[in-house]
């Protein structure tokens, strides 16, 4: 609670003000006289009435009335606190529950560091923050309100939870019944415990009851979010605490932030892993989201090269055309090292969903499966993002990037000159296989080369040809093996939007993070996803976030088209009907004009483009606009997959 004197009787004033607003006469616009009509003469009042009005005007405030004019609102202090955490941006769809905080960010904070971003939907706001972190490596703050805004935000929060993204949420609430405006605040702006709605997806939350409590929890929340394994956090922010005057600013203290170092693996366990890896004849590394930065990428590459071990996965942590990227086979592996691999069961087992359903291991019976993962350190039970349980021989609950230096060192100590020669020979074999795979990918791209709608391989090849000479970055769904993702920032990490509708805002957040570097940001955009959060395009144009969006417009929710086909085939009925897309799974009749949609929000756009020969000139025109700082969209009609 605020200290005595800081919010004295304000609630009573609000009650009085609301009552006055309700009883004041309202003149409908249609009933008002035209502007050029003769002004009516003011009715005369009696001396007694004038005296009574003067007395009322000059009288002291009644005991139940509070003054709302303040010099030092609590939300100014909140902005001071949040500025110490180093946010570059705060994003929101505006709402009255955080009007105090909003005003403070702009007028007191100068709308800089952080800058306020406007978003048309809370789910998009959270996902823009999710995408921003993926590239910037620092959280963006999201402001929303309970319950409505938070409910909209929930899918984005689920994405942050699933992708282990430290998105920082501030959820305004009006806990005090006397503070709530009748008719407005009781339903859509007030909850008893807002965080309960999303707590299963949060790493931590708190509801500060005072400004000092806010300062301490704000710093704690940041540290909790950034500590491995990362995750979203939320502070519930009392609206009255924002708007009331600070009683004694000098008594408030903002704690200093010190981020916790990530946990490294136990030395004995790491030595055992090294021993098994060095002795292995056919080892494979299965990597999830391992690298946090370019240094992490270098470590993963060093591990691979030290051991001549193929790395499957790894995302942006492994250059995709590295000779050791993508090779190997879990079926023949004798040692499998999983690094932050949260889909380990799926990687090591075969699952069929066909005429029969069943699962069986892909691995050899005597294969040693080793795991180094920080994900074991923070597990929630309600959302089942842990996959089926996978047995392992040895598990280290630790951050892989923090553990890699000691693992690499331990391996190097065990490698004799003779073993080195054997590893070099294996490395040459794997490099040859990798080169053949790259050549196969080029040949595969030639099939359907001139087809219309355009094949995804042709689309990827054409885009690559016009961006490869530039400093490019994919902000979602890059072109696969044919694109040379040689740097950490070329692609994004395990960012997750919580389902369809998440990826466009994620791309916008990522492009915002790339903006300072001037990189050319490129995104392939599915049509179904675009329809969920198309309004986030306006956030991109409004805030001048340059990016190239190339549509994967297959005019369907094609994943569901295929599922429905599976059902029809199993039931041996309606196969031909399903072949053309059952009602409910297609996005046509009419086809959506995504170019027009984009232009309506200020983007440069062309399309529909269905012929591959029209691609290159359109791409060159669009890139020229992006390089001037604009958002450009090409509505390309593509094959279904």
């Amino acid at each position: 609670m605020a200290k005595p004197g800081s919010r004295v009787d304000r609630r009573k004033f609000l009650r009085g003000a609301a009552a006055a607003a309700l009883t004041a006469p309202v003149i409908p616009a249609a009933a008002q006289p035209p502007a050029d009509a003769p002004r009516p003469t003011a009715p005369a009042i009696s001396p007694a009435q004038a005296s009574q009005a003067l007395a009322a005007e000059a009288a002291p405030l009644a005991a139940e009335v509070d003054a709302l004019t303040v010099d030092n609102p609590g939300s100014d202090f909140m902005v001071d606190v949040l500025k110490t955490l180093g946010f570059d941006y705060v994003i929101a769809n505006p709402a009255s529950s955080f009007r105090g905080l909003h005003e403070s960010f702009i007028n007191y904070g100068g709308n800089a560091s952080p800058e306020w971003l406007t978003c048309a939907h809370e789910q998009a706001a959270v996902n823009i923050a999710n995408g921003y972190f993926a590239v910037a490596g620092k959280p963006m703050a999201v402001v929303t309100f309970a319950p409505s805004g938070l409910q909209h935000a929930a899918m984005g929060i689920f994405g942050a939870f699933s992708g282990r993204t430290p998105t920082y949420l501030l959820c305004a609430n009006i806990p005090g019944g006397e503070d709530r405006r009748p008719l407005f605040d009781w339903g859509p702006h007030a909850m008893t415990d807002p965080a309960a709605m999303v707590r299963d997806m949060l790493k931590w939350d708190d509801t500060p009851a005072s400004l000092q409590h806010f300062a301490e929890s704000a710093v704690r929340a940041y540290r909790m979010a950034m500590m491995e394994p990362r995750g979203p956090v939320m502070l519930v922010v009392d609206a009255a605490l924002q708007e009331d005057s600070v009683h004694d600013r000098g008594a408030l203290r903002i704690p200093k932030l010190a981020l916790a170092s990530p946990p490294a693996g136990d030395a004995n366990a790491v030595a055992e892993v090294a021993k098994l890896l060095v002795a292995a004849e056919n080892p494979v590394v299965l990597a999830g989201d391992v690298a946090r930065d370019e240094a992490g990428m270098r470590l993963l590459v060093e591990l691979a090269e030290t051991l001549a071990v193929p790395v499957q996965g790894g995302g942006r942590g492994m250059p995709n055309q590295h000779p050791l990227a993508g090779g190997g086979n879990v079926r023949s592996a004798d040692v499998i090292l999983a690094l932050n691999e949260d889909a380990l069961y799926g990687r090591l087992n075969r699952f069929r969903d066909q005429t029969v359903r069943g699962a069986a291991p892909l691995t050899k019976a005597d294969a040693k499966i080793l795991s180094i993962s920080s994900y074991d350190l923070n597990v929630r039970s309600n959302y089942q993002n842990v996959e089926r349980f996978q047995e392992v021989s040895l598990a280290i609950a630790a951050d892989p990037q923090a553990t890699l230096p000691s693992l690499i060192e331990a391996c190097k100590k065990l490698i004799t000159p003779e073993r080195r020669r054997a590893l070099d020979a294996r490395s040459s074999t794997l490099a040859a296989a990798s080169a053949q795979a790259l050549e196969r990918a080029r040949v595969e791209a030639t099939y359907g080369w001139d087809a219309s709608p355009i094949t995804l391989q042709r689309l990827a090849a054409e885009v690559w040809d016009v961006i490869k000479g530039k400093d490019w970055a994919s902000v979602g769904a890059n072109g696969g093996r044919l694109w040379n993702a040689d740097k950490f920032y070329r692609t994004m990490g395990a960012v997750n939007g919580g389902g369809i509708g998440g990826s466009l805002p994620i791309a916008i957040g990522a492009a915002l993070a790339h903006k300072k570097s001037g990189r050319l940001c490129v995104r392939f955009q599915p049509d179904g996803d675009m329809l969920y959060m198309a309004t986030s395009l306006w956030t991109a144009t409004h805030h001048r976030i340059p990016m190239l969006i190339v549509m994967h417009n297959n005019r369907a929710y094609h994943q569901e088209v295929m599922h429905l086909q599976r059902m029809a085939n199993r039931r041996q009925r309606g196969v031909e009907l399903a072949a053309h897309g059952l009602p409910g799974a297609t996005i046509s009749d009419p086809d959506i004009d995504f170019a027009q949609l984009a232009r309506s929000m200020g983007a440069y756009a062309e399309g529909p483009i269905a012929s591959p020969k029209d691609l290159r000139p359109a791409l060159l025109r669009a890139i020229a606009r992006v390089e001037k700082g604009e958002v450009a969209l090409l509505d390309t009609r593509t094959q279904p997959r």
Binding site: Q354, L456, A461, A579
Partner: protein, 123 residues
């Protein structure tokens, strides 16, 4: 397992099933198919959904069929009882006669342009 990872194993299996049996007499027991009819059936029976309208495959759902389907016995056996994730087709929904037409169309597809003839891929 992600669809992309599955696609890799599907591709391998399919390649073995179709191409690995080339030593066998190529079209032993293959019914005569109508390629024009097969082109329409390829769409009407939903093959395109996973393998692409040009049978180019390569996406996350299904492997390429163009240039890969060679042996009727392997092809028809796989369609009836796929080893991997492909949707099985019974004879009730896709009779042998129709499957033979699709087989004929797949085998009639022209070779794609050579990689080196495509500047975008050879640069």
């Amino acid at each position: 397992m992600t669809p992309m990872r599955r696609a890799g194993s599907v591709l391998l299996t399919l390649t073995l099933a179709f191409a690995g049996a080339r030593a066998v007499v190529a079209q032993a027991g293959a019914p005569q198919g109508n390629a024009a009819s097969g082109a329409k059936l390829y769409v009407d029976r939903a093959c395109w959904q996973c393998h692409g309208l040009a049978a180019q495959g390569g996406g996350i759902a299904g492997p390429r069929l163009a240039g890969r389907v060679q042996v009727w016995a392997a092809f028809s056996a796989y369609v009836r009882r796929p080893a991997e994730e492909m949707i099985p087709y019974t004879a009730k929904v896709l009779p042998d006669r129709e499957l033979a037409d699709i087989f004929a169309w797949l085998r009639s597809l022209p070779q794609p342009p050579a990689v080196d003839s495509l500047p975008v891929l050879s640069r």
